[in-house]
């Protein structure tokens, strides 16, 4: 093989895309020809520079969530899934009731909880951080059977993970976080354009739902059936409270 043929084949040789015979010939030539060897070294250096110097850009979490939501919206309702979808229709009726009753109730409950301000503040900071650093999720999946096991071994409790796609609150993923120095599970849901962080940790005493506002974000807290929940979002407080009720399974 002459120098010209070798130089023509350096790029596929680098990519290991030459047939074995040609590849051997190029290798043999490079051993004996310093000029071609130098040209090959330059290509190797270029590869190194490209692979180290070029940033791999990950898809933004919101884009991922939006696409996921569209995929869910494109699913045909089938005979089997109808029974599953129906309870949410009932929920949306309930939502109107909650909206009316909740409006007044939220205002009063907001004044009842000054002592939990620190926790709410911390939760809001964590929420903001999760959005800014584009570190929304450690495990990105709409599948609760993926998200729930992911927490196993990372926490000493198992957070309840449910997908509420049918009600318009698809699961986006989960993340480890900490509130007041305790490790907590952060579950990420989405409702329309709003991201909802749900912090979950074990709590033996039930606690009625309370709402607060911190730096323009709404915080809803509740504890039921062994778990405490703290929801943070820029979603309106009425919807957020309704979602909290779905999450906790707390009766009205």
């Amino acid at each position: 093989m002459e120098c010209r043929d070798v130089l023509d084949r350096l790029s596929p040789y680098l990519d290991d895309e030459l047939d074995p015979v040609a590849s051997r010939e190029v290798a043999r030539h490079l051993e004996s020809c310093p000029t071609c060897a130098a040209a090959f070294a330059r290509q190797q250096q270029l590869r190194e520079t490209l692979q180290q110097g070029l940033e791999y850009r990950r898809a933004p979490d919101l884009l991922r969530a939006r696409i996921l939501r569209q995929a869910h919206a494109a699913v045909r309702p089938e005979a089997g899934s109808r029974g599953f979808a129906r309870p949410w229709r009932w929920v949306s009726v309930a939502a109107i009731v909650v909206a009316v009753a909740g409006g007044a109730w939220l205002v009063t409950s907001q004044m009842l909880m000054p002592q939990s301000d620190a926790l709410a503040r911390e939760a809001v900071s964590s929420h903001v951080r999760s959005l800014m650093a584009s570190h929304l999720t450690d495990v990105t999946s709409t599948d609760r059977h993926t998200v729930k096991p992911w927490f196993a071994g990372k926490l000493d409790f198992s957070p309840p993970v449910t997908d509420f796609v049918a009600a318009g609150y698809p699961l986006v993923g989960g993340r480890l976080d900490a509130l007041q120095r305790h490790p907590v599970a952060a579950l990420v849901y989405q409702h329309r354009q709003h991201v909802i962080n749900v912090f979950v940790w074990p709590e033996t005493r039930d606690q009625a739902t309370v709402a607060a506002t911190q730096r323009g974000y709404h915080v809803v807290r509740a504890a039921y059936a062994g778990m405490a929940y703290c929801l943070v979002s820029d979603l309106n407080p009425v919807d957020l409270a309704e979602f909290a009720r779905m999450l906790t399974g707390q009766p009205e």
Partner: protein, 189 residues
């Protein structure tokens, strides 16, 4: 890809069966990072990249029937790059097309010795700039090869170009960029 008719931004009709949704989630969605990364390098604009991926995803949902299940990444990437090229065609009026010369450099101008570290930092910048100035088909081939690690066959599948074309695009792009590297900061133009 033909693109006439209704805009692709409308929300998709209910085209997926629950089982298809599962397949879409397992086989296609894991490659959104690859999709976005490619779009970022092709379009060089984060917002347009997001739009392109969004639009491509809608097409992917709508045409999921056509997915035979072999390679979700190549399948999604080919839809994404088509969306990107449509945007590029719309965007440019000839200004984006840059003819590039394969720099003919002497074989003796290798950088070595004590300046090597500085040279290295400069090299990253030069190569980034050089890559940005490459005609988009050449940039595409390099990104798919170096960042995505695709084989020539897979790149051919994504871009719709024959393998021989993929091979020569990569060779030319590399010869050009290593020429830029060897020529140093002043010699790039």
């Amino acid at each position: 890809m033909t693109h006439e008719g209704r805009p692709d931004t409308a929300s998709p009709q209910r085209v997926l069966s629950p089982r298809q949704m599962e397949r879409f989630r397992d086989r296609v969605l894991p490659h959104l990072d690859a999709a976005y990364n490619l779009a970022r390098y092709l379009l060089r604009d984060p917002h347009e990249a997001e739009d392109a991926v969004q639009e491509a995803a809608l097409r992917a949902i709508r045409h999921f029937d056509g997915f035979r299940g072999e390679d979700g990444r190549a399948w999604l990437l080919s839809i994404v790059r088509n969306a990107c090229f449509t945007l590029l065609r719309r965007r440019r009026s000839g200004s984006e097309v840059v003819e590039f010369e394969e720099a003919v450099h002497s074989e003796e101008d290798e950088a070595s010795g004590p300046e090597a570290d500085l040279t290295r930092t400069l090299a990253v910048e030069q190569v980034q700039e050089g890559l940005a100035r490459l005609p988009v088909e050449f940039r595409e081939a390099l990104v798919l090869r170096e960042l995505e690690g695709l084989s020539y066959k897979e790149i051919a599948q994504v871009t719709g170009a024959p393998i021989g074309t993929v091979m020569s695009r990569l060779a030319r792009a590399r010869r050009h960029l290593s020429g830029v590297l060897a020529a140093g900061p002043e010699g790039g133009a």
